[in-house]
Structure formats: C-alpha cells, structure tokens
C-alpha cells in the first residue's frame, strides 16, 4: 500500500509552495516583456517630458545657448492653453466630425460585409486594407494632387462652368477633414465588422420570429449589440485624429492648423521644449477625461468587452 503523505508533510508543503510561488509569479513573467517595453519607451519618456514641461530657459547673452533649468513652472500650462486654445478646440471639432463621418460611412460597409458578403468577406476586408499598403504620406499627397485647383476634378468642373473661377477645396477645413476621414476609415470599419460579425444570428432570427420589422431588428438588436465595436472604432479613429498633423500640413491652409502641428513646430523648429511638452500633456489630459466620460455614458462595462 502506498503511503500517502499528509498535506502538512514538509516535502509536500515545499513542493506546493514552489508551484504556488510559480503560479503567483507567472502573470508577472508574462507581462514582463511588454511591461518593460512600455516602461522604457513610454513611462520614462513621459516622465522626462513632464519634467521638461516644468523647466524654464536660463537667460543668455549674445547667441550662447544657456539650456534649461527645472523650476516647477506650472504657468507654462496656463500659457500654453491660452495661446493655443483655438487649435485645441479646432482639433477636437475636426476629430468629432471625422469620427461621425467614418461611423456613417463605415457602419453600412461593416454591416454589409458581415451579413451579406458571404464567402467573399476576406476579399472585401482585404480591399478595405489595400490602401494601407501605400505610405500614409503618399496617400495624403495623392489627395493633394487630386484636389489641386488645376487638378483633374476641379479644373474639369471649372471648365464645364459647374464651379466658379478660383473655386478651391485645398487649404480649407473640408480638405483636412476629408483627408483624415479617408485615412481613418479602416480603423472604424474593422472593429465594427468584428462586433457585428460576432452577433448571434439566432438572436436576429428570434427578433424576426417575434414580428420585429427590419428597422426594429436593427435598432433593438443589431445596433445595441454592436456598441462595443462603435466604442473601439471611436477610440481608434477619434484619438489619432485629434493628434493628426500630416493632413493639416499637406491639405490644409493658414487657418486649419491643428494642435499636432503646433506641437511638432514647437519641438522641431521653435525648439521651445517646455511649451511643446506642456501642450502634449494638455492634449493627453483632455483625451483621457473625454474617453473616461464617454465610457461612463456608454455604460460601465469592463474595458475588455469593448475591444
């Protein structure tokens, strides 16, 4: 007869202690590489930027660069906001319009692919992603070419006297928003597609069996079940859109500068690092508060349900 060791036998306790310790450490081991990555390339630079945003330049004589000194200069934030509140507001407005446009255009597309594309689903998804094989900047430059005053679209319409002499789209807010919307569309469609695709068809059938009209099926069943996709699509569209500066730089005009352009300018040309850092933090703060509020409104489900 095999002799059973009692649970409190020292050998068993030691072995169990090892597994329990291993179990307890496993999650940390798994999160380790990703966590370290985030720490080194996200937390550390963030902290450096936070410090930088509170520094002030050392006064200089002549052309000698004096560098910066840490002074807890919180006034930088107030100054950054007063000086550039217009660009903040403009960025949020453009991003809101872009997100709405993407949702209106993207939802029917995602719905159609999920419910009606049949075996060709992957083909359509591939077609949707095809433009992404070309660089972001090149795509925006292509828009510049298409929408140019003497370009194929506007020049032809002007020749046909549909548009007046001197009409233009380039350099207007419309060009910038259209460019961002075009570049973000796939980020809206993909999560929407995933969440619509996941909807249990039997639930839809049940609704029909209970004499729901097509519209009712959509508003009472499909749409509510696709909300996680809308939330994810919103995050992936709105957040990058607020910080975008490429479209405003390539397609915009003198009065379409977005906050991303200001930050880029302050870092690279103006070399006012405290101002640039403060602007970045204000932008991040606005986005965080906005997203938390939005999550509250859409319900208090856990974040993983949304993605």
């Amino acid at each position: 007869m095999e002799q059973h060791l009692r649970a409190d036998h020292p050998v068993v306790a030691a072995a169990e202690g090892r597994t329990r310790l291993g179990r307890r450490l496993a999650p940390y081991g798994l999160i380790g590489p990703g966590g370290l990555w985030l720490f080194v390339f996200f937390v550390v630079p963030m902290f450096a930027m936070l410090m930088l945003s509170l520094e002030t330049p050392i006064p200089t004589k002549g052309f000698v660069q004096g560098g910066y000194r840490f002074t807890f200069h919180f006034a930088e934030y107030a100054q950054a906001f007063t000086q550039y509140h217009v660009q903040f507001a403009r960025s949020l407005l453009y991003a809101a319009v872009v997100t709405a446009v993407c949702l209106l255009v993207g939802y029917p597309a995602a719905y159609w692919i999920a419910f009606h594309a049949g075996e060709r689903k992957t083909t359509y998804l591939f077609l949707l992603l095809l433009p992404f094989f070309v660089s972001f900047v090149i795509r925006s430059l292509a828009w510049q070419f298409l929408l140019a005053d003497q370009g194929i679209v506007l020049h032809t319409l002007e020749r046909l006297h549909v548009l007046p002499f001197g009409f233009h789209i380039m350099g207007t807010p419309w060009a910038v928003m259209a460019g961002i919307a075009y570049n973000s569309l796939a980020f809206m469609v993909l999560p929407l597609y995933v969440s619509i695709e996941k909807i249990d068809r039997q639930v839809v059938e049940a609704a029909r069996d209970l004499y729901a009209t097509g519209w009712q099926v959509f508003t009472r069943v499909i749409f509510p079940l696709s909300i996680p996709g809308i939330f994810a699509g919103f995050l992936l569209t709105f957040v990058p859109a607020v910080g975008d500066y490429v479209n405003a730089a390539i397609l915009g005009g003198p009065s379409t500068t977005m906050i991303g352009n200001v930050i880029q300018f302050q870092f690279l040309q103006g070399q006012d690092y405290p101002m640039a850092s403060a602007l970045s933090f204000i932008l991040m703060g606005i986005l965080l508060i906005g997203i938390l509020a939005y999550a509250r409104v859409l319900g208090t489900r856990q974040i993983e349900e949304y993605v």
């Binding site: 200089t60 052309f63 000698v64 660009q87 140019a148 005053d149 001197g166 500068t257 352009n261």
Partner: protein, 373 residues
C-alpha cells in the same frame, strides 16, 4: 601630416587668422567641403570644376552635399565647436542668418587672409562685398546668392486685369485664396516690412509689430492660401497659388522645365537678397587648402562653370561672357535672375541681422504666431 597650430586662441600676433598665422600655414593637399545638394556643376557623376581644381592645385577634394537646412547642419557642428574640437570640415556653405551670426559672434570661424584672395578683390560683384552680416568679408565670401521676390501665373493677371507690380498686390482682394506666403519667418517678416515701406536691414521691433499686423490682416481677409516651405513652387506650378513669394533660381528652373507661363517679378518695393557663404570653421585641419579653393572659384571661368549649372546669382559678374559661350548658355547669360542688371541690384534689400538670442526670440515671437494659428 604636419600638425598645424590651428585652435590657438592667443590674441595679437600669431592669433588664429592673423597674417602671421596664415604665413605659417602650409598646403596639405586635402579639402573637406560641406555643401548643399545640387549646388555645384555636375556631369556624369563628376564635378568638372572640382576635377579642374585638383588638377591645377594637387588638392584632393572630399566633396559632401550634406547640408539640407542651416539649423540642422549647425546642430551637427555646434557640439564640436563648443568643446573646442575640429568639426571635420575645412569649408562649409551657410546662408546669412541666425546660424551664421552665431558662428561669428562665438568666434567659431577663422578670419580670412584677403592677401591670398586676389580673385575676390578683382572679380567679386558689389552685391557680395562688405555685407552687413560680415563687414569687410572678414569671415566669409559668397558662394551663390539669390533673390526673394514674387512669382505669378496668368490667372493672377486675369483676376487683377493687369500684370502684378508690387508687394502690395499680395494684399489684393481679387487674388483671395490664391496668395502663397513663405513659412520661413525671416522671409515672411521681411516681406511684411517691405509692405509697410521699411527697409528690413534697419528695422526695429516696433516696425516688426506693424508688419505683423499687416500680415495678420492679409491672413484674416482670407487672401493667403498657405504658408509654404520649398513646396511653394509645386503650389504655383499646379495652380493652387496664382501669386507667391518666390526664390529667383526656382522660377528660372521651372521656366526651363515645362512651366514657361510662370513669371518672376521684382516688385516696386524691392526684393530681398540672400547669400550662401563659404567659410572656414575654427580648428579646421586644412585652412590653406580651403582658402586656395575660395580664390579658385572667384575666377570668372570657374564661376561660369558653376553659374551655368546652379542658375542662382553668381558673385562674379565677369562670368557672363564665359556662360554665353557654353552650350545653351545664352538663356542663362541673358537672365537677370542669374546675372542681375542694375535695376535688380538697386532694388535688393538685406535681411535684418540678429544681434543675439534675445533679439531673435523677439522676432520669432512676433512673426511665428501668424504662421502657427
């Protein structure tokens, strides 16, 4: 290789750049030359003028077109200069502006020995002699110059009902939404100053503020299509802008490459003239080789080889006769954009020379918000 005494900072006789110091320098038959891309004659991957220089002087040239931007290039040499170490360059080309002022103010350039630059004395145009940013050409001689004026398309003539003539036309409401301005705030500020009738070279901060008001008005009226970097030329070529601030050489090149309808205008208020300058950084290993090259390019024949390729303004007017005889050189030689006539010369304004960082910051704080909003 013989070690040189560059880098000594003792004053008086024997100081770096003094005649005694120059007398002690010898040729090392090497020259490390930093320039901008497409800024020297090029044929089949070779630079004929450099080949000729090497043949005549025995000095081998390490030619590197590494400068794309004054500020960015300056950032690469500043740490060495600040640490009192060689930059690795014997000769470099930098535009008159804040970086050049900083190099001079910090004593980071070797004063030139004009006894060894007889060709400069003999052939340099009045435009490049004794410039306000470097009195007496103590540290620099010009490589090429250019004008910032106005360029326009036939649509501008159609909208105005006449040819544009002045800086004030950039403020004409009939050109609404089709005016191109430059995003470089020195260029933008200077044209604003010309608009209010002030010579930028002698302007004051109160003038700057008045010019900024005028520029803001132009923007608020919806006249400005955009503030452009080098891409202004594309905007003009594809018709987004009808009238724009422009650099002379670009328009000449556009005319020669499929856009003959573009015209360059010297406005009644004047043009801005800028100079890209040759200079020798402190601690350069081969200063005499660099000085020899400076003298070499001021020969009319060599200046002609450069002018016929670069199409900006050559500092050697006597090159015209040589350019004329080159294949296709007639067009180049007859263009006032390459060989400015008296009218062009008399209308050329200099930029304001910044006295220090504070001065520069003030200028930036006045003109930058116009572009960044």
């Amino acid at each position: 290789m013989k070690t040189t005494t560059t880098g000594g900072s003792s004053s008086g006789a024997g100081a770096v750049g003094s005649p005694e110091w120059w007398d002690k320098q010898t040729l090392h038959h090497v020259l490390n030359f930093a320039n901008w891309p497409y800024y020297i004659d090029t044929s089949k991957g070779q630079h004929p003028s450099l080949t000729l220089f090497t043949k005549q002087s025995g000095i081998k040239v390490n030619y590197r077109p590494v400068i794309n931007d004054n500020a960015a290039f300056f950032a690469t040499i500043q740490p060495s200069l600040q640490a009192g170490k060689p930059t690795g360059w014997d000769l470099m080309v930098i535009t008159n502006g804040p970086q050049l002022s900083q190099l001079i103010a910090n004593g980071w350039l070797i004063p030139l020995d004009h006894r060894r630059l007889p060709n400069f004395a003999k052939y340099a145009s009045t435009l490049v002699r004794n410039p306000n940013y470097d009195p007496g050409n103590k540290y620099t001689v010009t490589w090429q110059s250019g004008f910032t004026g106005i360029a326009y398309r036939p649509e501008a003539v159609r909208a105005l009902g006449r040819e544009p003539t002045s800086v004030a036309d950039l403020w004409d409401e009939r050109l609404k939404g089709h005016v191109g301005m430059m995003s470089d705030n020195t260029e933008l500020g200077s044209v604003g100053l010309l608009k209010i009738g002030v010579d930028p070279a002698t302007s004051t901060p109160s003038d700057w503020r008045r010019a900024a008001t005028e520029l803001r008005k132009q923007k608020e009226m919806g006249l400005v299509r955009n503030y452009y970097d080098q891409s202004y030329i594309n905007a003009l070529e594809n018709g987004d802008t009808w009238i724009t601030q422009a650099w002379s050489g670009d328009i000449f090149q556009a005319n020669e490459s499929g856009y003959p309808q573009l015209k360059f205008l010297v406005p009644t208020e004047g043009v801005m003239v800028w100079h890209d300058n040759l200079m020798i950084p402190l601690h350069a290993a081969n200063p005499l080789d660099a000085l020899t090259y400076m003298n070499f390019v001021y020969q009319p024949k060599i200046a002609a080889m450069l002018a016929d390729y670069i199409w900006y303004v050559t500092p050697v007017p006597a090159a015209e006769a040589y350019v004329e005889k080159m294949p296709g050189g007639k067009v180049v030689a007859s263009s006032p954009l390459v060989f400015p006539d008296k009218e062009m010369d008399s209308k050329a304004h200099n930029y304001y020379t910044f006295k220090g960082q504070q001065d520069l910051n003030e200028w930036n704080s006045i003109f930058e918000p116009i572009i960044q909003s």
